[in-house]
């Protein structure tokens, strides 16, 4: 729907399968993230391991489908499974700053280290493999560390392909969730003041008030917008006139991407991953001779 988030409906499906898609989105759709940090110099007050952890959590805009998983125990990495980034920055005093200034932004150069300072260092033949690639962090303005004059950070990072069940930093979504479509039924006509009270019980847009022959009559306009606040049940006069239910096979998914891949691609990938799981076991069945 909007940039980076997608809301879609999946109708006529069971929770078992809807939940499988959600779980795969969270934990099994791969992305690239910083996994190894080689610290050549770090005189900032951020300790090496904290810095490494912070760098790991930065989303990297690189299509994971272009890369392979790194083999277990492989410490080196090659152009097919690793992306290398460098972060080399030193803070210094600004000689032209006003004497009486106390603003660090004016007094110092490079005192804020942002994700935009990370630069891609191609490995092997990556410049030929990805001629028009632009590998960089999704966001330019993630604050990584603060420096004071004389302090510097000089690190090399290796990004590898991984999945969210190994570490949450690999998760391609900020959230992926589903809810059931609300179903609101008015058991009796609700009119005038009661209709207005009823309208206030729900989220804006759920209940509409129509004017029929000089009477205000409440009508359910868009049950989808309801949040199941159950506010109506606090009103003695209304609680027996309204039935709140859910459409049991109508799932409203909402997928919010971290920005590495568009959300619709993530959903397609998740479905393909579940198919891959089935295929893997079917192959197993065929390869084992049955007696």
């Amino acid at each position: 729907e909007e940039e980076g988030t997608l809301e879609f409906d999946m109708v006529g499906i069971d929770a078992a399968i809807a939940n499988a898609f959600r779980r795969i989105l969270l934990a099994e759709v791969p992305t690239m993230a910083v996994e190894k940090v080689f610290v050549y110099n770090n005189t900032s007050i951020v300790q090496d391991e904290i810095l490494a952890h912070r760098l790991g959590l930065i989303p990297i805009r690189a299509d994971p489908r272009l890369f392979e998983y790194r083999n277990q125990g492989d410490e080196e990495g090659t152009e097919i499974d690793t992306l290398q980034f460098q972060l080399k920055i030193k803070c210094s005093r600004n000689p032209r700053a006003a004497k009486e200034s106390s603003d660090p932004n004016e007094l110092y150069f490079n005192h804020k280290v942002y994700s935009k300072h990370m630069t891609w260092v191609p490995l092997g033949n990556q410049t030929d493999l990805f001629p028009d690639a632009d590998f960089r962090p999704v966001h330019d303005d993630i604050l990584v560390a603060l420096l004071r004059p004389g302090q510097e950070i000089d690190v090399l990072m290796h990004c590898v392909k991984g999945v969210g069940k190994d570490h949450a930093k690999f998760s391609p979504v900020a959230t992926a969730s589903y809810r059931l479509l609300p179903d609101i039924t008015l058991l009796q006509p609700i009119e005038d003041e009661a209709a207005e009270v009823l309208q206030k019980c729900f989220s804006p847009g759920v209940i509409e008030i129509q004017n029929i022959k000089g009477k205000k009559v409440a009508k359910v306009a868009n049950a989808r917008l309801d949040t199941f606040s159950r506010e109506v049940f606090r009103h003695e006069g209304l609680k027996n006139l309204v039935r709140l239910a859910r459409v049991r096979n109508h799932y409203i998914f909402s997928v919010e991407s971290t920005g590495i891949l568009p959300p619709d691609v993530l959903v397609s990938e998740a479905i393909k991953i579940l198919m891959g799981k089935c295929q893997r076991f079917l192959n197993e069945l065929d390869s084992v001779p049955m007696d």
Binding site: M10, N19, A20, E284
Partner: protein
């Protein structure tokens, strides 16, 4: 065990109609959706799964069939059915995504034409 490796456990004194499949490197994601698909099969008397231990990444997937049907058959059918469901969901999703994109483009086009100055000289 290799990821995705499958092994069968069969209790003594039973035939092939009661089998526990051990699915390595799997969890509720495949376990529950596959259980749901297998349970739809009327030949299946019982189907359930459990995660052996939180620190082991494998599930025991149990199938018992009615009569003499070997348990492998509903297992295979369940996997195939789940594949079919996924394929259907994928096709439907990509189709509606394409429709949505086309509709959005059309709306943008209309908005652009409305806002352009050539209509009001």
């Amino acid at each position: 065990a290799e990821p995705g490796e499958r092994s069968e456990v069969q209790a003594d004194g039973t035939d092939g109609s009661c089998v526990t499949f051990v699915l390595h490197d799997e969890d509720h994601t495949l376990g529950n959706s596959l259980r749901y698909m297998v349970m739809k099969n009327p030949d299946v008397e019982f189907c359930g799964y459990c995660i052996t231990h939180p620190s082991e990444s494998k599930i025991n997937f149990r199938i018992q069939t009615r009569g003499a049907l070997p348990a492998v058959e509903p297992f295979r059918k369940g996997l195939n059915d789940l594949m079919g469901v996924c394929q259907h969901v994928l096709n439907t999703f990509e189709k509606s995504m394409k429709e949505y994109r086309a509709q959005r483009e059309e709306e943008m086009q209309v908005a652009f034409e409305d806002g352009s100055p050539h209509g009001c000289v």
